[in-house]
Amino acid sequence: MPNTMTLPTSMIEPAAPKQRGYWGSVGNRLRYDPVTVFFGLVVLAIILAAVFAPLLAPFDPYKESIIGRLKPLGWKGHWLGTDELGRDILSRLIHGGRVSLLMGVVPVAIATLVGGTLGVVGGFGGRKVNTAIMRTMDVFYAFPSVLLAVAISGAMGGGATNGMIALSMVFTPAMCRVAETATAQVKNLDFVEAARATGAGTLTILRYHILGNVLGPVFIYASSLVSVGILLASGLSFLGLGVKPPTADWGLMLSTLRQSIYVNPVVCALPGAAILITSVSFNLLSDGIRSAMDVRM
């Protein structure tokens, strides 16, 4: 058909500008999901508040006041009241987000890197490698997560760094399983076979064919872990295994304010509310991204 050969390109592909790539369609699906957008903005606000805490906090989070202890909401410009040492709760909540977010997110990042790598190696490597890696992971899987985190950080003597190490060890096995399952599924598909037939080396196959299909599930799973990470990290701080006083941290604030529930119950409940809001927002954002990316776990 010589006619079609001479057609201008704009007529052959009228749909071209509408064709989005995979990420384009993901972004588009997200745009029409008001719940995810809203909680995405909440997460963004929480992160920004933590980053710019010194600029945003109305008071010095460490400034104590003997006469201004455990004051109710709105007392003398302290919108959310003051704690048992007269420090401004709002400022401490804003500053506390730094430690709480960091302690929740860093372990997830470490576990994604370590567990993801181990999982891909285990899924792609031979049977012996797979058995060695996965059976070791099964042992750590045999502990309830809170218990393992408490055990490791408790035995190591507590502290923020030990807490993050402990949480990384809690998340790594789960991350490894997700990566291993995804890798094993992709490994035997025809296009990998085809790539190998055309002479692609192991590294090339890993880089272009395996990783491209494994990163999706791994990323989704990591995003769902962030909420768990924040909950567990605050839990460790609550038990006294996180940062040391007087550092502002949501879990630690909750733990010390707990002594004052008979004096000022509303103020005492605030740090936990901050943990809940953050954790709900991360969870719903992760749910939204998952359904937009259409990854089945």
Binding site: S145, I152, L231, F238, L239, G240, C268, G272, I275
Partner: protein, 318 residues
């Protein structure tokens, strides 16, 4: 079936062994000399030498481990640094108190979570689905130690209808769930404990149910004129094995993961024992409690595995 049983048990043994290795190494994670973490700080030179020889600290690590494992198999977990009582006694008493809470929390969490998920999954997209899934998300994201404090504020501090903490006047030994004066101390901890499992079970049930709903056999059932309740019965039956796996995990979490809730309510269970052990740097208790809880977790998973293959013949073949 016997074959399967034997195979699953063989699979659980190396895991239990690995678990004991991890628990053994906990002592060595602690900063400083392991002897210092095991002995009270005021121990005399003779005691140190005695314990060193008795525990075999002068021997290479693998031998130390085997000796420790041998003692543990006989039920000797060592002595608590804080109370000087055998760790096994402390752990057993605490486990009993934790199990008392779980006895109530498990049925509440499982039935509520399953009903919520099943209803949401059967009517996907409805307002009921949205309400239940939203509630479940809050359950999953809930810092339960905070929720416990809020309940204490509402029911113990403000309304003064329920006690805030502890196990009551009769203490741990005289506690009876059949006496309201004692049982009322359990109300708030049980509610707090159930919240997170309710959320998790509701979410997985909904996912499982809505997945089964989309399968071809449901359309066939509907096409041949089966009533809607009968279809739902078929769907729930097919979603059950998947839900059961999650429930098994949650049972393990309720036995071991209640450390935060028990700390909030100073409930003298295994979790509270752990948090005390951490404050006192009581490593033998830490080690013993964690080992026991992890072994319970392994055993639960084994039982769930077997129960799953009993219910679902598709699993049995693999």
């Amino acid at each position: 079936m016997i074959n399967l049983l034997i195979r699953r048990i063989f699979y659980a043994v190396p895991i239990a062994f690995g678990v004991s290795v991890v628990c053994f190494s906990l002592v060595y994670l602690a900063p400083g000399d392991p002897l210092q973490t095991i002995l009270p700080s005021d121990a005399s030179a003779e005691t140190i030498a005695l314990v060193k020889a008795a525990y075999g600290f002068d021997q290479p690590l693998p031998i130390q481990f085997l000796k420790w494992l041998g003692r543990v198999m006989l039920g000797d977990f060592g002595q608590s640094i804080a109370t000087r009582r055998p760790v096994s006694l402390e752990v057993m008493g605490a486990l009993h108190n934790t199990a008392t809470l779980a006895l109530f929390a498990v049925p509440i969490a499982f039935s509520t979570g399953f009903s919520m998920g099943a209803i949401a999954g059967c009517f996907p997209g409805s307002w009921l689905d949205r309400l239940l899934t939203g509630t479940a998300v809050i359950g999953v994201s809930l810092p339960n130690y905070w929720f416990g404090i809020v309940l204490v504020i509402l029911f113990a501090v403000e309304a003064m209808v329920l006690p805030a903490t502890g196990m009551g006047a009769n203490g741990s030994d005289g506690f009876s769930i059949f006496r309201w004066a004692d049982a009322r101390f359990m109300v708030l901890p049980v509610i707090t404990l159930s919240m997170v499992p309710i959320g998790i079970i509701a979410r997985s049930t909904r996912a499982a149910v809505s997945e089964v709903m989309g399968q071809d056999f449901v359309s066939t059932l509907r096409a041949k004129g089966l009533s809607e309740p009968a279809i739902i019965r078929h769907v729930l039956k097919n979603a059950l094995p998947q839900v059961l796996a999650v429930m098994g995990l949650q049972f393990g979490y309720l036995m071991g993961g209640s450390i935060l809730v028990e700390t909030v309510f100073t409930w003298p269970g295994s979790g509270f024992l752990l948090s005390k052990a951490i404050i006192n740097r009581d490593v033998p208790v830490l080690q013993g409690t964690i080992l026991m809880l992890a072994l319970i977790f392994v055993a639960t998973n084994l039982l769930v595995d077997l129960a799953q293959s009993l219910i679902d013949p598709r699993i049995r073949r693999t």
